[in-house]
Amino acid sequence: MGEEMHRGVGSNVNPVSVKKIDGGKFLTFYLGKEEYGIQILKVQEIIGIMEITPVPRTPDFIKGVINLRGHIIPVIYLRAKFGMPEIDNTEQTCIIVVKTRNLIMGLIVDRVCEVSDIATGDIDEAPSFGTFVNTEYILGIGKCASKVKLLLDIDRVITAQEYDGMSQIMESIN
């Protein structure tokens, strides 16, 4: 199923073409006031914020690495990735551990919300904002009781190039 989705997202280059996204369970979280969702099968686990060791000469959005029960995994600061201003950690700041393309990494989010069941019918395709804005990492937009949840394609949030860089870094660390 993961392969299928990957393929789907990868082929969905043309904004005009309409592609139905399958519903299912999403882990929702907040960055600022917006609620985002990640497909639950991508999620490994959720942990509270913990000490992050910065790694030099890495892009800004990589906060550093953490030791997750013996595994060293990189941690990405999603706010930086999405061009949002950096804020101090709160009691609710969490790290969502995801697995993408065989790489386990942590995403720092403001607050974890819930595991939400969104039906296929309630998911719209991401709107097109023209060629200026790249929306390919948005899987779709879930509607749920007058609220909107931006469903992220976590495999595309990190570009292939970034992914390679990170893989290299992780290899060098490990």
């Binding site: 369970k25 882990l27 639950i40 099968l41 959720i46 509270g48 969490c94």
Partner: protein
């Protein structure tokens, strides 16, 4: 001399012992020789006997014994007596041998005695040669003789030398017979005696001449002696020389000093003690020179009149110091009296006659002292006499006092009698004046002085006479007449003559006295009229006053009852104030308790706040637990989703768990908010509490003030009550006074009536005097002088006059009765004021 003596002694000893030693040696040798001879002869006989015995072949045992005995003899040992039987052939031989043995032994014993005596220097022995026989006796006789011949000269020499050694040199010579060496010894001894005798004589002569007779020219004759004896003699001469030289010079110096010539210092050098003598001489010369210089300086100073100069005794020692001190004390003895005499004369010349000199002086100084004392006494007595007479005559006025002329001599007596003459010439006129003044003072005016005096005394006489004239005129003729007339109730006479100075003033005064009397009587006459009318008005006024006083008394009673009421109200006030005070005290304790409670409450609220804070901490923990539970639920949901269909039930559970976590978080949040609010409220409560406390404090302070005010009101009310009491008593007194006033005013009414009567009587009395007819300004016109002589019947005329005068007084009010219209003055103020003072 001592050394010489010692040397001589040594010489003597030597000279005595040397021959003795020689003699002893010779005797010893001779003794030994004789013994040897005796022994040798004995030996020869024995040997011959031994040869005969040896020739006998048959030597019996007796022969053996004899032989052994002879053998001992040959060895010089004492023989053993051989005892043989009478029959023995050797019996006689043995007996002879024993006899020989006895004689030998006795001889040897005597020889031992002799040799022991000789060895001990003794030449006479207790040996009797007749004890022995034969050659033994001869030997001993010769030995005794030889000893006698040696011993006698030796004893003679020894005796002489012994005498020399003891200083007994009498020129006695050794006269005993001697031969050989003993003769030489005798001669040498005798020549030594001669030499010593000569030397001693020479020394004695020189010593006597030098020491006892002081003849330093005598010397010993050295030519009489030889060798070292000559040197000894010349040595003695040298000693005498060395003594004589310095002694002569010393004698010479002492002679010079003794004859008053101080020789120059000795410059020659001497040795040892002579140098000490020289130095002492020089020292003595120096001291004498210094002493003479000092004495000369003192003498010069004294002859120059510098009596304060003294010798410096510090420079000298011993007798010289004493001399200077003595000179100083002599100067003191001279200068002391001179100075004190000079002081006394200076004092007398300055007029300070001091006390008599009491210090003791000697000789002529005492004469000077006595003369000075006499002078002082005379001057003192004279001054005292003059002083006494001056004080007596001038200050004490004792004019009989005179000086005692007999106390003084010569010109001093003349001076005293001169003073007496001065006093006499002063005193006589004074006595006359005094007599006159005494008479005048006794009220007697004597006749004029007719005697003649000179100069100022005549002036005194003239003045006294003038005084007598004036007194006669003033006291008897002119002034006396005027006073006499006044005494007889005629006030018109006056003193008319003119007088000088105070007498004129007296005249004026007498005139003024009479005039004033006249004027006064005229006024009294007028005033008596006025008094009469005034007193009737007083009478009316007093009656009105009495009525007013009784009205006043009733008014005062009313005031008194009002005051009683006021007093009870004031007391009520005081009681109320005290009650109020008690209430405020209890209010104060209540507020204080309130403050305490508020403090406790504040503590309680703070405790609540603390508990709330603790609860907030717990809530935070709950919140965290809820968050973690939420995360767990989410993770469980994730796991459930992975499990697909199998995890569906688990997903539901996880969701529920998550919901619970959310709810507990929510509940914790709510609780936290509520606790926050309760903390806020508690804080508010603390603020309010503080405000309440502040308010309570203010209330407390104000209650205290109210309390103070209350106590003040209470005290004031009490004081007020007291004051009212005082007012009350004052009013009571006022009431009493008013009653008295009424009584007094009634009395004064009757008194004023009496006064009217008295005034009339006075007027009648004045009319008896003769007064000049001049009109007085005080006469109100009602008093007619012309009527006076007619009113001789006093009491009959009094009543009609009074009435007439009163009527006229009413018609002419302004003249002399202005103040009498004032009712206040009508009331007798004196009495009123005395009552007030009592009040």
């Amino acid at each position: 001399m001592e050394i010489l003596k010692t040397k001589l002694m040594q010489l003597c000893v030597f000279m005595i012992f040397f021959p003795l030693l020689v003699t002893a040696a010779a005797l010893h040798f001779a003794g030994a020789l004789n013994t040897t001879i005796v022994m040798a002869s004995l030996g020869g006989g024995i040997i011959a006997l031994a040869g005969a015995l040896l020739a006998t072949e048959k030597m019996s045992a007796s022969a053996g014994k004899i032989n052994a005995s002879l053998e001992r003899l040959s060895k010089g040992e004492a023989l053993q007596p051989v005892e043989l039987a009478k029959g023995d052939c050797f019996y006689s031989l043995a007996e002879n041998m024993n006899q020989f043995n006895r004689r030998c032994t006795n001889f040897k014993m005597d020889m031992d005695t002799v040799s022991t005596a000789l060895a001990g220097g003794e030449f006479s022995f207790s040996v009797n040669p007749n004890d022995h026989e034969g050659f033994y006796r001869q030997v001993l006789e010769k030995l005794v003789d030889a000893a006698k011949k040696v011993g006698e000269p030796l004893a003679a020499v020894n005796c002489v030398i012994d005498k020399i050694s003891k200083g007994d040199i009498t020129g006695e010579r050794v006269s005993v017979e001697a031969r050989g060496q003993f003769l030489a010894l005798k001669n040498n001894t005798n020549s030594l005696i001669g030499i010593i005798d000569n030397l001693l004589n020479e020394v004695k002569t020189v010593c006597i001449a030098t020491i006892f007779e002081g003849k330093f020219d005598k010397r010993a004759n050295a030519a009489l002696f030889q060798g070292r004896w000559a040197k000894l003699a010349s040595g003695i001469n040298d000693i005498v020389n060395s003594l004589a030289m310095p002694l002569k010079m010393a004698a010479d110096y002492i002679t010079q000093i003794g004859s008053g010539r101080i020789p120059p210092i000795i410059t020659e050098e001497y040795k040892g003690d002579f140098n000490i003598i020289k130095n002492s001489f020089n020292n003595c010369i120096n001291n004498l020179n210094n002493l003479i210089t000092e004495v000369e300086a003192l003498t010069h100073a004294a002859s120059d009149g510098k009596l304060k100069v003294r010798g410096n005794s510090e420079k000298y020692e011993g007798v010289y110091k004493e001399i200077i001190l003595e000179i100083n004390s002599t100067l003191d003895a001279i200068v002391g009296p001179l100075n004190s005499a000079a002081d006394y004369i200076a004092k007398i010349s300055k007029g300070e006659v001091s006390e008599v000199i009491t210090a003791e002086y000697k000789g002529d100084f005492n004469d000077i002292k006595h003369n000075l004392n006499n002078l002082i006494t005379t001057v003192d007595t004279m001054l005292n006499e003059i002083k006494t007479i001056c004080i007596a005559v001038i200050f004490e006025g004792k004019l009989d006092k005179r000086t005692g002329v007999s106390q003084f001599q010569g010109r001093w007596a003349k001076l005293a009698s001169g003073i007496n003459d001065i006093v006499n010439s002063l005193v006589n006129p004074l006595k006359v004046s005094s007599n006159y003044l005494v008479k005048i003072s006794q009220g007697e005016i004597p006749a004029k002085i007719t005697e003649e005096y000179k100069g100022d005394f005549n002036e005194i006489k003239t003045s006294i006479n003038t005084c007598l004239d004036t007194l006669t005129s003033l006291i008897i003729a002119d002034g006396g007449a005027a006073l006499q007339a006044a005494a007889e109730k005629d006030l018109t006479a006056r003193v008319k003559k003119n007088y000088n100075g105070l007498y004129d003033k007296m005249k004026d005064n007498i005139n003024a006295l009479i005039e004033n009397l006249e004027e006064m009587f005229k006024q009294i006459a007028g005033n008596a009229e006025n008094v009469s009318s005034s007193s009737s008005q007083i009478s009316k006024g007093s009656q009105a006053l009495a009525q007013g006083a009784s009205e006043q008394a009733s008014a005062l009673e009313e005031v008194s009852s009002s005051l009683h009421q006021m007093n009870s109200m004031a007391k009520q006030n005081a009681a109320n104030a005290k009650e109020g005070q008690n209430l405020t005290i209890s209010a104060r304790t209540s507020t204080e308790r309130g403050v305490d409670s508020m403090k406790k409450m504040s503590v309680a609220i703070n405790l609540i706040k603390d508990s709330s804070n603790n609860t907030a901490k717990i809530l935070k923990t709950i919140d965290e637990i809820a968050f973690q539970t939420n995360l767990l639920a989410l993770n469980a949901a994730v796991e459930a989703a992975r499990a697909g269909d199998a995890g569906k039930g688990f997903a539901v559970v996880a969701d529920e768990v998550r919901n619970l976590a959310m709810r507990s978080a929510e509940a914790a949040k709510n609780t936290a908010r509520m606790i926050e609010e309760s903390v806020k409220h508690a804080n508010n409560g603390v603020h309010i509490n503080e405000e309440v406390m502040k308010n309570l404090d203010e209330i407390n302070g104000q209650v205290r003030k109210v309390n103070e005010f209350m106590s003040e009101i209470s005290a004031a009310s009490e004081q007020q009550s007291e004051g009212i009491n005082q007012i009350n008593s004052a009013v009571a007194q006022m009431n009493q006074v008013t009653q008295q006033n009424a009584a007094y005013s009634e009395e004064s009414a009757s008194a004023s009536q009496e006064l009217t009567y008295q005034a009339d009587q006075m007027k009648n009395m004045i009319m008896q005097f003769k007064l000049s007819s001049v009109k007085s300004r005080t006469m109100a016109g009602g008093f007619d002088m012309g009527q006076a002589p007619a009113m001789t019947g006093r009491h009959q005329a009094a009543q009609p006059h009074r009435k007439m005068d009163f009527a006229e007084f009413e018609n002419h009010p302004p003249a002399a009765k202005g103040p009498e219209n004032d009712p206040k003055k009508v009331i007798p103020f004196d009495e009123d004021s005395s009552v007030l003072q009592e009040f």
